[in-house]
């Protein structure tokens, strides 16, 4: 029984890791056409996330794989249910992934512009779609007694789902802007900082609306009580602190604040859910839980042992790779690899 909860928490942690890391990749990719005024600057921007984006994306693949492994019914219901949304998410991730590698391999400006556009859309759609998906998971979707999703795609685009998408999207762009300001020099840095300060208000507004919406669209108060209220307020606090840090030019701390905001948003969603994993708005008895959706205790235990062995290595060498590339990048073609 305990392993069901353990894996619920581990999957939450995997999504937190994903949003904190890939979140700034998305943000940087979205800002690419706006902050990159010439090819040199665009190359510089891409190079800030060049070494990291692929390893960051694996957090999402691991979260999905862990969902399949620990809660096969959750994986089956969610992935078949959110079919169209996931299709667009896939299209975005596919194009973006290839774009980073292909973009600078030809000198034709049309070639580079095309791939820069795909980097933009490939970075813009995922946080939006994932925000919509998660918002719908916590507000509840039509799931029948056989654990089948019976809604469509358009009903996911309800007001709460869209707010969730906009909130996640705007926080990711802010997160990316601050990351960029920590990784580049000179004029590009100044513009990234200015953009970050301008992005703060929209992120706060969408975030606050999303939190307030949560009190109406979900059962957070009745279901999670005081814990739910506290955890829902934390992202607002970290966003406010983020604004304060930027005012004080403490950009490293500002980055930590957006990271924590993303962590707390994910935590909030999982607190609302627990012990459910998919909420049915047709009948609460038809919701999927960490018990009726899970694999056997044997499988959960086996996976836990494997994770305890390998996760520390992952954290170590991913941390090491960030350490290797800790220096700021100059907008100097001789120093840029991609």
């Amino acid at each position: 029984m305990i392993f069901n909860t353990v894996w619920f928490i581990l999957i939450a942690i995997l999504y937190m890791g994903f949003f904190v890391l890939e979140g700034f990749d998305f943000g940087v990719g979205i800002l690419l056409p706006f902050l990159g005024k010439n090819d040199n600057e665009r190359r510089t921007i891409i190079n800030t996330i060049g070494p990291h984006w692929d390893g960051n994306e694996v957090w999402l693949l691991t979260a999905g794989g862990a969902t399949f492994a620990a809660f096969p019914n959750w994986y089956a219901t969610m992935f078949s249910g959110f079919y169209i949304a996931l299709l667009f998410l896939l299209a975005a991730l596919i194009l973006r992934g290839v774009a980073f590698e292909f973009r600078s391999l030809d000198e034709n400006p049309n070639w580079r512009n095309f791939w820069d556009k795909t980097i933009f859309w490939g970075s813009f759609l995922p946080p939006l779609l994932l925000g919509v998906a998660f918002a719908n998971i916590v507000t509840g979707v039509p799931i029948d007694q056989n654990m089948q999703y019976t809604g469509g795609f358009l009903n996911l685009l309800n007001w709460y789902g869209l707010l969730g998408g906009l909130a996640v999207l705007s926080i990711c762009i802010l997160h990316g802007a601050i990351y960029l300001s920590l990784k580049v020099e000179d004029d590009l840095k100044e513009r990234a900082l200015k953009t970050a300060t301008r992005l703060w208000a929209p992120a706060l507004v969408f975030g606050a609306l999303f939190i307030v919406g949560t009190y109406f669209a979900t059962d957070i108060i009745s279901h999670a009580g005081i814990v739910g209220i506290i955890i829902s307020v934390l992202p607002a606090i970290t966003l406010l602190l983020n604004g304060y840090m930027m005012l004080k030019k403490r950009n490293g701390l500002a980055f930590i604040m957006t990271a924590l905001t993303l962590v707390f948003v994910v935590a909030c969603l999982f607190v609302i859910l627990f012990p459910r994993v998919m909420i049915s708005n047709l009948n609460p008895d038809w919701s999927l839980t960490i018990y009726n959706a899970s694999s056997t205790p044997y499988t959960l235990q086996t996976m836990t042992i494997v994770t305890l062995i390998f996760l520390p290595f992952v954290l170590f060498y991913q941390g090491w790779s960030y350490f290797i590339f800790r220096k700021r990048l100059h907008t100097n073609p001789k120093e840029l690899v991609y």
């Binding site: 060049g50 070494p51 691991t62 999905g64 019914n73 992935f79 996931l86 019976t150």
Partner: protein, 459 residues
């Protein structure tokens, strides 16, 4: 077409497309790692240039492998939700381990390798590419463990309408994976080897960067000989194992309708599936019995008898996979496999005798041989997956039980359209880049990326 057929078609084309890129990744990364090893040991700049040139081709291919792989992970849940519910307890664990162990390792260390040439010491940089090689090849192990359960279920019990894992070690040491994994890794090495051999031959014929490409050629052709011979040996061992474990697949691959002692091996045949017989066969007497059981007079089970056996075991139904497809994919795979052995031995011999310069005809042909492993790889996967039909998990779960019930034919048309459009654009871009860089040679990678001045902003 109905939803099930569309789902099957989509899974087939996305998997085949993914497996265009995977074998080259598996094999080429090892060659690149060997080149960088030689660079670090001998401090010879040519090996560094080789690492960067072949490495750049590797990176283009790797990117395609990664993104097409994401589709695969999502597709189980999206299109095969009932299969996922049935198999999740077994499949999920190897897939999660694949992500945690292999994907993280190869993706993170590859980022270090690409961007860290001047930032970490050369030995550490070398370690990075070897870890990428390890990560990629070990990822094959975990996905093949999952596939092997589908071919030969072990370490499980049927409970609550699903397969539940009862013994993790049995699952990961499945006898099927013990042959399937080496066979797959070796097919990757063969693909990578012929890729390097073919491109090197192109330049050697034109006397371009001769020292560079002779070294690449020699290294790759030795690997080609070794891997093409070993992949055939592993294939044979796997075939013999499959005679025991999935006799219907092997009978189908031979279009052997009737059980026979001293069965002949048909090189070609005119198959009449609807009447369950062959109208014509060109065959080698008793060879099939020998291949299957090491005994020229042994009995090999035929399709008709197996169909009856399965009907009494599993109930009424059609347990016969597509015979023509199994028959011809097997011959394509094995035929090309044999051809690759011959070509690689000939190429190694002529290279060793320094007669490749005289045998310009072989140099001219070798670039075209690059596609041969691709065709063989595809044929092999078609055989092993479709030869298992109607089962998706052999003996336990049929393909018509597995599809997502809430995904309509219209949704499938949409996803098919999206994948086909995307994949067509991407294969076009990939081939364009491959050709450009392969034909340009190391001149393309020596200079690195060129920054454009005053790019028009159209975002």
């Amino acid at each position: 077409m109905d939803a099930l057929s569309l789902a099957r078609f989509q899974f087939a084309i996305t998997t085949i497309y993914h497996f265009f890129f995977v074998p080259l990744t598996l094999g080429l990364v090892i060659l690149v790692a060997i080149m960088e090893t030689l660079y670090v040991l001998k401090k010879d700049e040519t090996y560094k240039r080789m690492t960067k040139f072949w490495g750049k081709l590797f990176l283009i291919n790797f990117a395609m492998g990664v993104v097409t792989g994401i589709v695969q992970e999502f597709q189980f849940g999206m299109n095969w939700s009932e299969y996922s519910r049935f198999m999740g307890d077994i499949f999920g664990a190897p897939l999660a381990i694949e992500a945690l162990l292999a994907f993280f390792l190869e993706s993170t260390l590859l980022g270090v390798w690409i961007f860290g040439w001047d930032k970490i010491n050369p030995k550490l940089h070398l370690l990075a590419i070897w870890l990428v090689a390890f990560g990629s090849n070990i990822s094959a192990l975990w996905i093949l463990i999952a596939n092997s359960f589908m071919q030969q279920p072990v370490g499980y019990a049927l409970n609550h309408g699903r397969a539940e894992m009862t013994n993790f070690f049995e699952v990961i040491t499945n006898p099927h994976v013990l042959t399937q994994f080496p066979h797959t890794v070796l097919s990757g090495l063969t693909t990578g080897a012929f890729f390097v051999v073919g491109i090197s031959a192109y330049h050697m014929l034109r006397n371009n960067e001769v020292d560079f490409f002779k070294r690449s050629f020699r290294m790759a052709v030795i690997l080609a000989v070794i891997s093409s011979i070993l992949v055939a040996i592993m294939g044979h061992i796997q075939g013999q194992h499959m005679v025991q474990v999935q006799p219907m697949k092997m009978a189908a691959a031979e279009a052997l309708w009737e059980t026979e002692k001293g069965a002949d091996f048909s090189i070609i045949a005119l198959i009449d599936s609807s009447n369950r017989k062959n109208l014509f066969e060109l065959s080698l007497p008793n060879v099939l019995s020998f291949m299957a059981n090491n005994d020229f007079n042994s009995e090999v089970k035929g399709i008709n008898e197996l169909q009856k056996t399965y009907e009494s075991k599993y109930g009424a139904g059609n347990y016969i996979p597509p015979i023509e497809l199994a028959f011809w994919t097997f011959r394509i795979m094995v035929g090309i496999g044999g051809l690759l052995i011959l070509i690689s031995i000939l190429a190694l011999y002529l290279d060793y005798k320094n007669q490749l310069v005289i045998s310009r005809w072989l140099l001219a042909i070798l670039p075209f041989a690059i596609v041969l492993p691709y065709i063989a790889n595809t044929a092999g996967w078609l055989l092993t997956e479709m030869g298992r039909l109607p089962w998706i998990v052999f003996g336990l779960f049929r393909v018509d039980q597995g599809a997502s019930p809430n995904v309509s034919a219209n949704m499938l048309f949409l996803s098919l359209l999206v994948y086909i459009i995307l994949y067509t654009i991407l294969i076009g871009a990939t081939i364009y880049l491959f050709k450009k860089i392969a034909i340009a040679g190391p001149a393309a990678t020596d200079k690195g990326v060129i920054t454009l001045d005053d790019v028009k902003q159209t975002a």
